[in-house]
């Protein structure tokens, strides 16, 4: 009897010691971590938050909270820029447009992840699995083209710094009304008028070039009361629409596609300091390409004349049943299929975006990559960096990515896109996969916003008919030459 208390006391002491040790050990390795992430307020980031709350478990045993600061798109850049430059150090991770990389890397806000990626086999595997277009556009600064990365032949490429991972890779695709494009009477009339097949199936859309697109624009332009498909147009109806807006990059993205397809170029940051703006930006080929872009605007809904036809207006016009076909980002597709927001939810189908037919008959669909990477900021502690990279691995895990794709998102992982299930997960997946291979990106340098804003303004003058395409490109080239010379990017 005398032993028992002594034994109990001894074992209790041992247990207490072990418990305390356990507590202190737990305190060292399992922490409460909050990752505040700046994110644009739209479905791809909303899904990420919902899925994180449902399925994320920290492999290091942390209790991790992803606190997303959802910011409306129109003020997203300004809000993020204001936060970073004010020094408040609010965000641990940021969903960023690829063009911002230069500005915020040079500012010292975005973390260089090259060494961490190299040291972590999982991250290395992710980087090797990502489509090279996305690695080039979303991750490298100073910018390396896809070609440069592929020529390097290894990962990481020599003298290359990597910063971001795809949060949501986006491309342009065609949205079209299958009730009109697959309508027997309309198809017959189109064939008679243009001696070309009215595209109906995905394969038909693979053969659509800008001439066909223009014909579609003419063909489906109907006045109120005119026959349209099985009924009559209840309002003026239009055949085509693509973006032509003054805000942010809402014409540059479309114009770049035309310029690249024609074989022209924008100022090439990878050629700095010898690459020039004047003579390139306003070359005869670029002017011809821009004029081609402008030539189709009169066939579009009248808002195109105001220079306010941005990606959301284009999407809205389609959802309201005012347009037969549009070119818009995959990221805006989900509301089109929702009967609560769209009058054409049951009539919509998707195909690759049109392109320029070359002499060999093949269609060049080169376009400007959309979507966003996400990055880590420089002020995070080692513990937060490690956990943020765990979040990256969770997000770019094939299982999470498939869920994301099934809910209107997209994946940049080649293994996910190669999955036989992938094409059937959402109706635009096949088009996205096909378009991804054609993508390039605009500049990533710190002066990008100055270049972009001035260019948008000049493009807007041309779009609204105040000046010609050549005058616009001449003004853009002159401004870019001066700005880039001042910045030491052109000698």
């Amino acid at each position: 009897m005398m032993l028992r208390p002594r034994t109990t006391a001894w074992s209790q002491a041992l247990l207490s010691g072990a418990f305390l040790l356990g507590l202190s050990a737990g305190g060292a390795y399992a922490a409460d971590i909050t990752i505040t992430m700046a994110a644009p307020d739209w479905p791809p980031t909303r899904f990420m938050k919902e899925e994180f709350d449902k399925s994320y478990k920290s492999p290091d045993g942390h209790t991790t909270k992803l606190d997303m600061d959802f910011i409306p798109w129109p003020s997203f850049y300004e809000r993020v820029a204001a936060s970073l430059t004010s020094g408040e150090q609010k965000y641990q991770m940021i969903v960023t447009d690829s063009q911002w990389l230069g500005s915020f890397v040079e500012g010292g806000y975005y973390m260089d992840l090259t060494e961490l990626m190299k040291a972590d086999p999982e991250l290395t595997a992710i980087m090797k699995d990502l489509h090279p277009v996305l690695v080039s556009a979303y991750s490298t600064y100073p910018h390396k083209t896809r070609q440069q990365l592929e020529e390097a032949g290894e990962w990481p490429a020599a003298d290359t710094h990597y910063y971001g991972f795809p949060q949501f890779p986006d491309t342009y695709v065609t949205y079209y009304r299958k009730d009109l494009f697959c309508h027997e009477g309309e198809a017959k009339a189109f064939q008679e008028k243009y001696s070309r097949k009215l595209p109906c199936s995905y394969e038909d859309w693979q053969d659509v070039d800008w001439t066909d697109w223009k014909n579609i624009g003419e063909f489906f332009q109907r006045a109120k009361g005119a026959p349209l498909g099985d009924g009559t147009a209840d309002d003026d109806f239009y055949g085509i629409a693509y973006q032509a807006g003054k805000g942010y990059d809402f014409s540059t993205m479309a114009v770049n596609a035309f310029i690249w397809q024609y074989g022209g170029g924008i100022w090439d940051e990878t050629q700095a300091p010898t690459g020039q703006a004047e003579g390139v930006v306003n070359s005869d080929i670029a002017v011809k390409a821009f004029d081609h872009y402008l030539s189709m605007l009169p066939l579009m809904p009248p808002v195109a004349k105001t220079g306010q036809m941005d990606i959301f207006v284009v999407q809205d016009l389609f959802m309201q049943g005012k347009v037969a076909a549009i070119i818009d980002w995959v990221g805006l597709g989900e509301p089109v299929l929702d009967p609560k927001t769209s009058t054409v939810s049951d009539k919509s189908a998707f195909g690759p975006a049109p392109g320029l037919r070359k002499e060999d008959g093949k269609i060049d669909r080169t376009g400007n990559i959309g979507g966003q990477p996400f990055v880590l900021t420089t002020w995070n502690s080692d513990e937060v960096v490690k956990e943020a990279l765990n979040v990256v691995k969770w997000w770019l895990n094939p299982e999470t990515q498939k869920k994301f794709v099934a809910n209107g998102g997209q994946s940049g992982l080649r293994s996910v896109m190669a999955d036989p299930e992938y094409d059937g997960l959402r109706p635009w997946n096949r088009a996205h996969k096909e378009m991804l291979d054609w993508q390039r990106d605009v500049w990533h340098i710190p002066e990008f916003f100055e270049l972009l804003t001035q260019q948008q303004e000049e493009f807007d003058k041309a779009i609204t008919g105040q000046i010609s395409g050549k005058e616009a490109l001449d003004a853009v080239a002159k401004f870019q030459q001066q700005t880039l010379e001042d910045a030491g990017k052109i000698e």
């Binding site: 850049y77 300004e78 820029a81 204001a82 970073l84 430059t85 500005s103 915020f104 040079e106 500012g107 010292g108 309002d235 003026d236 003054k246 805000g247 809904p301 009248p302 808002v303 004349k305 105001t306 220079g307 306010q308 016009l317 309201q320 005012k322 710190p446 916003f449 100055e450 804003t453 303004e457 000049e458 807007d460 003058k461 779009i463 609204t464 008919g465 105040q466 000046i467």
Partner: protein, 312 residues
């Protein structure tokens, strides 16, 4: 004497404690004002001085380079920038047109509401509603109103035209759209001021004029106008200052387009500061605008003083 005073003070403190000393009548006033002054200093005066300092340094908020002193270089750059003068011209056109429309509409509304008629109170409340709305809602409302595919303006005019009416497609149309939106919002303010003047005119003056068989114009020019002219001037100055800073409505309706046709100086400063991150240059431009506003404000204060003198 100094020793005695110190003892007295110590005695006072120990008698009532620190709280009593602090709340003594001679300290209570400054103490109550201090928080407001602190907020004013932190939120207004310090940023003002800081940005004034920045306008003399080469500094960009998105770079981590050490600012270098450049003297008046950015002021020189701003004053020789043809874009700045172009934006000032655009602003002047919008200010001139908008204030003129506000004056005319506000004045006519005031003449109408100076008389009594059925439902006057309800109508008056409705007319005053626009100026109680936020700029953003007014901007969005007019953007949709002018939208050529499904907007009300195009829809209404489509009945009389072959082609869709697209107001915002031309510089003149876009300026007209902004002027109309701004005038819609602020004409009631002018009306309020003029109405205050109209109701302050003594009735006997009109009665005497009627006895003298004075014409409508004679009554207006010799009785009504002298009573309301200072208030009208006040309205002009106040609306000029406010319209000079016009940002929200322009940014929402046209984003400064087509091209830069409706980009006011306030929108231009915003672009320079928060899109181009030309921090020093935008600070210099902001101070030039501040100078213009101060001149206008002084005119406004002068008008107020004159009004006070007239009333007394």
């Amino acid at each position: 004497m100094a020793v005695v005073s110190a003892q007295q003070v110590t005695g006072e403190r120990s008698a009532g404690g620190f709280w009593a000393w602090l709340m003594a009548p001679e300290r209570r006033g400054p103490l109550l004002v201090t928080p407001a002054l602190l907020v004013l200093f932190v939120m207004n005066i310090f940023p003002l001085l800081w940005s004034f300092g920045l306008s003399f340094f080469n500094y960009r908020a998105n770079r981590q380079t050490v600012p270098t002193f450049e003297g008046l270089q950015f002021y020189q750059r701003v004053l020789t920038d043809e874009n700045v003068w172009e934006r000032f011209q655009t602003t002047a056109i919008i200010v001139g047109s908008s204030v003129l429309v506000q004056l005319i509409v506000g004045f006519l509304l005031a003449l109408m509401f100076a008389r009594s008629f059925p439902l006057r109170r309800i109508l008056l409340m409705l007319v005053l509603t626009p100026m109680m709305l936020s700029f953003v809602s007014v901007g969005v409302f007019f953007k949709l109103y002018y939208e050529p595919t499904f907007g009300l303006v195009s829809w209404a005019l489509n009945h009389f035209m072959d082609e869709r009416f697209v107001l915002l497609a031309t510089p003149a149309g876009a300026i007209a759209g902004i002027v109309f939106a701004d005038a819609w919002m602020w004409s009631p303010f002018v009306m309020l001021l003029v109405l205050a003047g109209l109701v302050s005119v003594p009735k006997y003056l009109y009665e005497a004029a009627e006895i003298d068989r004075a014409s409508w114009w004679r009554r207006f020019s010799t009785i009504t106008f002298p009573y309301i002219k200072s208030l009208l001037l006040l309205a002009v100055l106040f609306r000029t200052i406010e319209t000079f800073k016009l940002f929200d409505i322009v940014y929402i309706i046209t984003e400064g387009g087509p091209g830069s046709a409706t980009e006011t100086i306030a929108v231009y400063v915003y672009r320079q500061a928060f899109q181009f991150f030309r921090t020093s240059q935008s600070a210099a431009l902001a101070y030039i605008i501040l100078f213009v506003v101060i001149v206008l404000t002084n005119l406004y204060l002068y008008a107020v003083q004159r009004r006070e003198q007239e009333v007394t």
